[in-house]
Subunit: 340 residues, 2 copies
Amino acid sequence: MAASRRPTLADVAREVGVSAKTVSRVLNEDGPASARTREQVLAAVAKLGFQPNLMARNIRVGGPDTTIGLVVPDLANPFFAAVARGIEDTVRNRGLTLLMGSSADDPEREHALTAQFLARRVSILIVVPSVGADHSGLKPHRTAGLPVLFLDRPGVGLATDSIVSSNRAGAHEGVAHLIAHGHRRIGFVGDLPVKLYTRRERLAGYRAALKEADIPYDRSLVASAHDQQGAEAATSHLLGLADPPTALFAGNNIMALGVVAELARSKRKHVAVVAFDDVSLAEALEPALTVVAQDPAEVGRKAAATSLARLDGDRSRARTITVPTRLIVRGSGEQPAATP
Amino acid sequence: MAASRRPTLADVAREVGVSAKTVSRVLNEDGPASARTREQVLAAVAKLGFQPNLMARNIRVGGPDTTIGLVVPDLANPFFAAVARGIEDTVRNRGLTLLMGSSADDPEREHALTAQFLARRVSILIVVPSVGADHSGLKPHRTAGLPVLFLDRPGVGLATDSIVSSNRAGAHEGVAHLIAHGHRRIGFVGDLPVKLYTRRERLAGYRAALKEADIPYDRSLVASAHDQQGAEAATSHLLGLADPPTALFAGNNIMALGVVAELARSKRKHVAVVAFDDVSLAEALEPALTVVAQDPAEVGRKAAATSLARLDGDRSRARTITVPTRLIVRGSGEQPAATP
DNA sequence: CTGAAAGCGCTAACAA
DNA sequence: TTGTTAGCGCTTTCAG
């Protein structure tokens, strides 16, 4: 079958015998229209299966598009998926739709995505900035009225709103929990790159907790990885040290999966663990996993709400909102420090 | 600061002293342009921070927008998040961006989202259809050349491509695994609504496996839930029966979380479990969780590849592609059938 | 209450 | 190599 052209406003108008403007009026409930005309128009719209072209409308109206652009490192990471959900829930009743992309923490991909979103005239731009990305190029758009917000990490080159978790305080609290249970050799399994804001903040919290307890910082207890497999290897490495840690602190959800998986595989239940960011089934593990829980949905909602306020004209100073974390004690942090 | 208007092609042209078309040519690498002009144009573009308006371009060119619309029940569900990632990975090098929304399995929200996507002239529309949704309204768009694809479940009212997992065979295999280990009273914890395609197919696989082993189907062993909490309650209910099941089959990833959490909470490790769809940390549980693993990334990639082929002119018959599941034996299915 | 003309930002088609 | 004209589908503006 030949591909038939999609009907336009003019097609509908012709079908009814009125002008395009009249059809437009009926559909947008703009201006008056006689009941009879309205009916006829609606009938024709249904008959032809007319779907107004939102791009054409936007072009003419000139305002931003009813989309919100979101750039995250990985769509499939449960943390960012939950953030996206929080954003969506908040902007839905404003008629905004989510335009999403994964940057893989690559500044070039991030740039390509933001450029694409800007070209689409998104109403709001929310970015989880990659290490090494510069955002000064967004300045004119900000000035032109586009709300830009950095999520999970601060951005470079642009003073604008950002939403982050209480990384340092949270990590501090988690590590202090381990120390309170007698641990003095505590390993840190962090993600990469080392310059990543969240890693640095959480490592800082770890160090602060050690210092508070007069435990010297031992670089050899800090391991790093890119993914779950890497975290497993890092865990294995730490536990194989001459003077191994009796407890581990996992720097994010993916590291947590690796740490827990490796401990289970090597049957080392006696190693205490606290993870930054909650993971599903944490309660079903033995021992159940103690975590410094983030609230990704709240991060998303706050990000959306803040940007919407900007869209509505809020011209106050750029601010950073910190979403608190919460230590959820489930047991894994209380394993005794003394190895058998 | 006053919101300055975004620069247009004409602004750039004026800045350089050439025509708009020339700027367009340079930016789209369409037609010839002298090195000197090209340079000047690029400089002006950088200076003004010009970002071409993709909507205006699309309007003029007339083709579909370079977006792919995806409607899923829940962005935050790891299965759909992974599917989205698979789609994105496949369409990225074609320059398509993901437009996403959650339907919450509500036909009205699904309809609103698809309408919005159609109005945006997405290049491809991929939908996880809700129970009760009718898709005959998409016919004209299909005819007009829009590839429409149903994902995870078949759609109603429109004959088009769909991608599903091998639900029935997978469930059959998982339940047979339990039967092979001596179980005859096997509970089924399924999601809702009961008319949901995946639930029905998986229940059918469950029943087929029972039948094959001459085990009568006992309705009282089938429980249902909407979410993890519900699945916990359903599990508790089943285990509280006068003649309780010695094994449980979880109908999807969320049900699996509930079943496992409840068994851990009530310390009933002796109950055998097989879950449909893999979950993270499955290997770290005790016993490790045996699952009928789906391949969400592959589902996404297949969906994207199939739709892209349609976009490229494939006019062959609508087909249903089944992505195979795989039984991953980890231990939880081998708990002995005899209760102490 | 309705229509005609103009124009949003961009590119196709032609001309120079 | 570059410019001019027209027009994508829609809405604004101004008349009727």
